[in-house]
């Protein structure tokens, strides 16, 4: 059995606003082993990026992060100083951001940026770092790596830049990579190439991967585990098979009905939809946050919502307990 490398329990993110406190992430749990891929999906604004940033320790001082447990490789991340946290980032854990242009420095060559992290965290010469950078660029499918190292970010296409970001995250051979929408800005052929690459690298290097995305096709193809977020909570989680074959939370089911699926939905026929909008999470929030949009809602939905488990790791939060068996 492989070891758990990330263990998160009761994670909260609170943001003070003029009008009150925004409870953006409201007590979520997840754990990840080496070699596993966790996909986080969910409505825009449900707290996916904040969750990633909280784990990486990248949220500003103004934002309050709380947790019952926040452990990485057995270390309590909450006990680390900012310096220790920075030493961990880019070394043992790395993040790939959604927009590569904002996280690459336009003034430095690709080679300099790739080598920086390695030279910062390990005692290696520039030549050694460059050799490793060239090797990694090759691995992420960039040809003519030596000449690419001399180029500046603006001289590369979007797909190439995203690969450079992935190479950068891999430079120190981290144990955990968090990728926030890494392929959203890319077209489908490049997306497929990058996802294959991530899956291969994960296997080769036995690392753990958290992928944030709202593309359910990507999730189905790459996830071992899935967490579905809605309004700051994980409303359902389980293996990819459980989530796609036996979706149980009404939001998850609604989501799966919304997308056209070649061969399943009929061209031209109306798609499913989830009417209504996400409620405000400023101030006190009680009951199920999905109830204003849920066709199955009743009075009990304004009370505390039980956490239900079915077969092993499959979990969902809903007052209805028969949903899983209905589908199975």
């Amino acid at each position: 059995m492989s070891e758990t490398i990330l263990n998160v329990e009761g994670l909260t993110v609170d943001i003070p606003l003029g009008s009150g406190t925004l409870h953006a992430v409201r007590g979520i749990d997840f754990a990840l082993k080496r070699g596993e891929t966790l996909c986080i999906v969910g409505e825009s604004g449900s707290g996916k990026s904040l969750t990633s940033l909280a784990v990486m320790g990248l949220l500003g001082k103004r934002i309050q992060v709380g947790a019952a447990k926040l452990e990485f490789e057995g270390r309590d991340l909450r006990s680390l100083t900012p310096r220790q946290m920075q030493a961990l980032r880019g070394d043992r854990m790395a993040m790939i951001f959604q927009e590569p242009m904002t996280s690459l420095n336009p003034a430095y060559t690709i080679g300099d940026q790739l080598c920086e992290a390695l030279q910062l965290h390990r005692r290696v010469s520039k030549a050694e770092a460059m050799a490793q950078a060239a090797d990694l660029l090759g691995k992420v499918g960039i040809t003519a790596a030596e000449s690419r190292l001399q180029q500046y970010p603006h001289q590369l296409s979007g797909g190439l830049r995203q690969r450079v970001m992935i190479a950068m995250a891999l430079m120190c051979e981290p144990d955990l990579i968090i990728a926030d929408e890494p392929t959203t800005a890319l077209d489908v052929t490049i997306q497929a190439q990058i996802l294959r690459l991530l899956a291969d690298l994960k296997r080769e290097m036995n690392l753990a991967l958290i992928l944030v995305t709202h593309d359910l096709g990507v999730v189905a193809r790459i996830a071992d585990k899935v967490a579905v977020m809605y309004a700051g909570e994980i409303v359902e989680s389980g293996t990819a098979k459980a989530i796609f074959d036996a979706p149980s939370h009404p939001y998850t089911r609604g989501l799966l009905d919304c997308i056209p699926v070649p061969g399943k939905t009929k061209p031209g026929e109306p798609l499913g939809s989830i009417p209504g909008i996400v409620p405000s999470l400023v101030g006190d929030v009680a009951g199920c946050a999905f109830r204003s949009r849920c066709a199955l809602a009743n009075d009990a939905c304004s009370e505390t919502i039980p956490k239900r488990t079915a077969s092993g790791e499959h979990m969902y939060r809903c007052v209805h307990e028969t949903l899983i068996s209905e589908v199975a």
Partner: protein
Amino acid sequence: MSGKNKREAVLELTGITKTYQVKQGMFSKPQPLKALGGVSLRLYKKDVLGLVGESGCGKSTLAKILLGLENPTTGEVLVDGRQIGPADRQLLARRIQPIFQDPYSSLNPRKSIEEIVSLPLVVHKIGDSVSRQKAVTKMLDLVGLPERSRRGYPGQLSGGQRQRVAIARALVINPEIVICDEPTSALDVSIQSQILNLLADLREELGLTYLFISHNLAVVEHLATRVAVMYLGRIVEEAPAGELFAGPRHPYTKALLESVLTPDPSLSVPDIHLGAQYPNPISPPTGCHFHPRCAAARDVCSTTPPPHLQSATSQVDCHLFRKGADGRSLVPA
């Protein structure tokens, strides 16, 4: 109704090229970039023409030319068989309206929803204030926004509601053709489905014709009646949607379709066997622009541009095909 090929094209493009002058370095002199290399297309009434292709292949450039926002370098735009020149922009704008990708930046945050939706009527000097108010009421109802939202501002609306406002604004002057450039890619899937359903309903109700640009092939398959596939400034294949998705001909179309990730957890990410030699639009590959990445390429592909082949319903530009003996079908070469 007579045969399909006799249907009247509401919009026709013939041999459209567009060349931009671009600088590659700070001190180098500008070089020509051919964003469109001779595009011919027909849009038939009530059709939904899906336009797909790699990032940077020229889809948005084509949309801008249709909207009169850019002039083609060469080639003609015909509306109802009549040629449209630079002086006819007003006419073009009344008949062809856009819906863009980003509903957050495409609406003026300081204008009320009523002002935003009625603006095209004001610009084209259509009606008086009373009739404009009525038109706004009708549009809000049509796109499913509550009447009270007319006094609201974009900042108070969700992404899906904003995109509805953008659709109302596009439709208020009764265009016949709507150009949708990635209209749902900035939206949640739950909102995407509402907008796709709305676009389908409006097509039925108002007899609209769409040019629908998208990276999401599942969405294109769902909505489109015809599909055109672009690669590096050229249309490489065009066919009725059912035909194209059931039997793609061009190797690039095949790679595109193989890249679609259906939500099936028993499958993994496919290997699409597409080389990573992304073309440089400033010095495109010789012969077939796609040959450096094409798994099926033959010797002739690197030297000679592919033939432009037309069947009764479709077209493809590829050396792997030739015209059948009947002159109406395409067979392997």
